[in-house]
Symmetry: C2
């Protein structure tokens, strides 16, 4: 999947905020394309792969699958793209250490569950692709849930896990 | 990292065996190049990224680091490249399920530890890159350890984890 920042596109960008670390160039719109499409005339093109979930355990999978809405719902006219990277201190940890911070101590899944099924999410992995960000998180929701979405971001960003986030951009858009 | 099968290269191929699934084209040699080098005149070019270890836990990391030799030792003139893929049944499992099969039931790390420091290993992840294989395992050892290496393969291939391997090629080489 490639998220393309350009002058035209399905999603009209309403704000770009560099939450942590360096900014990215301004763009008018986001277009979402399959990874094999070569983007032209764009300000940036961020590629990621859905791949398998890295931390979810079996006991969490069922509740997540039941509650998670799909992307592309007609009423979900607000979208947020959050490209982010984690520090070397995160990546040198072993799987059990990363999982403990992710869920047992930061409650990433548990905390996010509260916002289902209002907020649909796609997570795309970019780190192994040599991309500028490690992940691309993409959210879609109806405009009335923007307050809930903001609350979720505040909660997530206050966790221990987020101490390892060393670059984060928040791009809001509407269609 | 890209493993290139071509007419020339540092490592002279001595055998190519399709252990499970489809073969790959014959080649004379393997050349190992950084991922940004564009291979020319080759039979195949298999790319992978070292990335972070997916299953190793903290208690295993120390013993592994202490015992694992580096690649490129002068006496390690035998190399084996094993490109492999796992089935959808593997990838739809959650992290805890994959870990339980990988180590608690198949003893992948524990079993491999017996062959350290004789056998040096590099593991490169390819799945997210849209490559034909999920992983590229690369081994280097002195010729007198080839028997031990064969024994390790027999042990690993008899594990529950290997029931999920749906393509595996074994390419032996010497320099």
């Amino acid at each position: 999947m490639t998220f393309i920042g350009a002058d035209t596109g399905k999603w009209k960008i309403t704000s770009i905020t560099a939450v942590t670390g360096a900014e990215i160039p301004l763009a008018e719109c986001i277009e979402v394309q399959p990874a094999h499409v070569v983007p032209i005339n764009c300000r940036w093109a961020l590629k990621g792969v859905a791949g398998q979930a890295r931390y979810v355990e079996r006991s969490e999978r069922g509740p997540l699958d039941v509650s998670s809405p799909s992307l592309g719902r007609p009423e979900a006219t607000t979208a947020v793209l959050i490209p982010m990277s984690k520090s070397d201190a995160w990546w040198v940890m072993t799987q059990d250490e990363r999982r403990a911070i992710f869920e047992e101590r930061s409650h990433h899944i548990g905390l996010s569950m509260k916002y289902l099924p209002a907020i649909a999410r796609g997570l795309y992995h970019s780190r192994d692709l040599g991309e500028p960000f490690d992940f691309l998180a993409w959210f879609e929701f109806a405009p009335e849930y923007e307050g809930a979405f903001d609350e979720m971001l505040v909660e997530l960003r206050s966790t221990e896990e987020w101490k390892y986030v060393d670059r984060e951009i928040e791009i809001r858009a509407a269609r």
